[in-house]
């Protein structure tokens, strides 16, 4: 790990990506992160892929329980109501 103020390496940068995306990097760290990013195509691609990954995860289609399963649950609810 290089000293604070020194130029950030790619290896350090990839470990700070989540803190960066979560808005948890302090001012000086954030400035070093962005300075590195500005001159490093590899890290630009990495960050871009991370954003695309998160976007894709959030878009995995929402499916729900089949109607039969929901009907069973309703029956269970009625039984629960009756028995308590």
């Amino acid at each position: 790990m290089s000293a604070v103020g020194a130029q950030m390496t790619c290896r350090e940068m990839v470990e700070l990506v989540t803190d960066y995306l979560e808005g948890r990097l302090g001012g000086p760290q954030r400035a070093r992160f962005e300075a590195h990013l500005a001159i490093c195509p590899g890290c630009q691609a990495y960050l871009e892929q991370m954003r695309q990954t998160l976007h894709a995860l959030g878009r995995i289609p929402e499916e729900t329980l089949p109607a039969a399963a929901r009907e069973e649950l309703l029956q269970a609810f009625r039984a629960w109501k009756r028995d308590r």
């Binding site: 990839v14 590899g42 995995i60 929402e62 729900t64 309703l74």
Partner: protein, 213 residues
């Protein structure tokens, strides 16, 4: 717990069928997403969600409302999915290394071999940088990419899996993930970081194979 939760809880306890049907419809898709990340098949995931709702009914009179209703339900789902997932995987040996890696404190986000070594021109900089993905939105929306993501999440240590399911599959806040899992904000962020890094790496591999045809 907010006022909406209190109203809903009263309705459920009084046996209001519409309230029950609505809550099942509202939350089941999210519960199913989390369950899918834990168990090997869609059918088992559906059973886990059903079991969760039955457990909710059994527990609802005792629920004290210290957390949001949704957080409480997610907690039940996670317990159910975890014990079910463990049962499904019972035949596989439990790896010591995998248990050690649970928190992932010392796991790098990227394979260290992809960076230049001490004798490189720029030590610590990329030796094998990631390549930009062509048409990422279309590519990552296909079944193959989705399977790669779900498989990658299933392969994670349990707590990393829980965090990424709640945060990125369901889109809930860091605070909600901390509440549901009982971890600190900093710990949550470490778990999320390791999980996201591995899912990205799995997608990178998938895209590479996809492009190579």
């Amino acid at each position: 717990m907010d006022q909406g939760d209190e109203r809903l809880l009263r309705a459920l306890r009084s046996g209001d069928e519409t309230a029950f049907t609505t809550v099942v419809e509202d939350y089941s898709p999210l519960l199913l997403r989390i369950a899918l990340a834990h168990v090997p098949s869609r059918a088992v995931a559906e059973e886990v969600v059903q079991e969760t709702w039955l457990a909710v009914l059994r527990g609802i009179d005792a629920f004290e409302g210290r957390s949001a209703l949704r957080t409480w339900i997610i907690g039940i789902l996670l317990n159910t999915a975890r014990s079910r997932g463990a049962r499904e995987r019972r035949t596989l040996p439990l790896s010591f290394l995998r248990r050690r890696a649970e928190n992932g404190w010392d796991e790098p986000a990227v394979d260290p071999h992809r960076f230049q070594g001490r004798r490189g021109e720029r030590p610590g900089w990329w030796a094998a940088p990631p390549e930009r993905w062509e048409e990422p939105a279309e590519r990552l929306a296909r079944d193959g990419a989705r399977t790669a993501m779900i498989e990658a999440i299933r392969g994670l240590p349990p707590r990393q899996r829980d965090v990424i399911a709640i945060r990125d599959l369901c889109g809930y806040s860091a605070e909600e993930a901390c509440d549901a899992l009982g971890v600190s904000e900093a710990n949550q962020r470490v778990l999320l970081h390791r999980a996201r890094a591995k899912v990205r790496a799995a997608l990178e591999q998938h895209v590479k194979e996809d492009v190579a045809g």
